[in-house]
Homo-oligomer: 167 residues x 2
């Protein structure tokens, strides 16, 4: 399987492409849902802006001032505001959604390994490590802060890949 360039054309096997933002990048090693197996991977990358963080606080209810209040955050161990860990982990979900087929999330383990500064570009890479049968796959899931060149989330997911609905 070759590597797909960054969403250049609408591909019916990627349910999400039509909503793509020009600032987002992704690549994947496989196009055919029936060919998925260990070693296949997807990477998704975007910046996490101040606007994103404020929106996440509002929609999730996580209004921890560490994420929202410069003066407060300056006095914490981080020395400044950081992105919500759960929002960072959302990029894993975005990468999983770009597997061919319809991805359904069954489980996710997360270790928050380091902070993401407001505005940093972050990439999530998911790689199938085991075919569990019944269209279920276990994946290694790693998020990196590309500006800091650091791993910020490490973990594993299990997903179910359903057939896409007929167009």
């Amino acid at each position: 399987a070759g590597t797909e360039p960054n969403g250049e054309c609408a591909d019916a096997s990627i349910p999400s492409l039509e909503y793509a933002d020009p600032d987002w990048t992704f690549e994947r090693s496989v196009e055919d849902p029936t060919a998925l197996g260990p070693g296949d991977h997807v990477t998704f990358e975007k910046a996490l802006s101040d606007e994103d963080v404020r929106a996440f606080a509002e929609i999730s209810g996580d209004t921890n001032r560490l994420h929202l209040d410069d003066e407060f955050a300056a006095e914490t161990r981080f020395g400044g505001r950081i992105v919500h860990g759960t929002l960072v982990s959302g990029l894993i979900s975005a990468a999983l959604a770009r597997l061919p087929g319809l991805t359904i999330y069954l489980s996710q383990d997360l270790e928050f390994a380091g902070p993401v500064g407001i505005g940093d570009r972050v990439s999530a890479r998911v790689e199938i490590v085991e075919d569990l049968g019944n269209e279920q796959y276990r994946l290694e899931t790693v998020v990196r802060d590309e500006d800091d060149d650091e791993t910020v989330v490490d973990g594993e997911a299990v997903v179910l890949i359903d057939d896409l609905p007929e167009a």
Copy 2:
């Protein structure tokens, strides 16, 4: 420790209260960060609206049509659009943020046990199950869809509780 009524007054030990939305509810069993221990718990509840889901798609990049496209979602096993699992898990983060002190997320395991329909009211309950020392605690984290009366996310978190910065 008593149960705190729903954010009636700004409490300096809850970093997030000043941003609270009248639609949100929370309660907690403990006010004093130095008194935290097994059995202490926080519950946080809000509705997850269509607007929240569309905002989450944009900020995370997870534009899976299962969350965004009625026609597409109608043909899936869910029979309609559902809320992103990661957004649902964000309410756990919102509950953890309401522990007294400054909560820092170290890890989270999630099992997505069932779908959340668009607009459903969802509650996250976090309860300390172990004091790990060094201001670290392990918590049981459960999210329920209150409209469907179902557990939708089950899991565990580990957090570090730092002192709040001096006002």
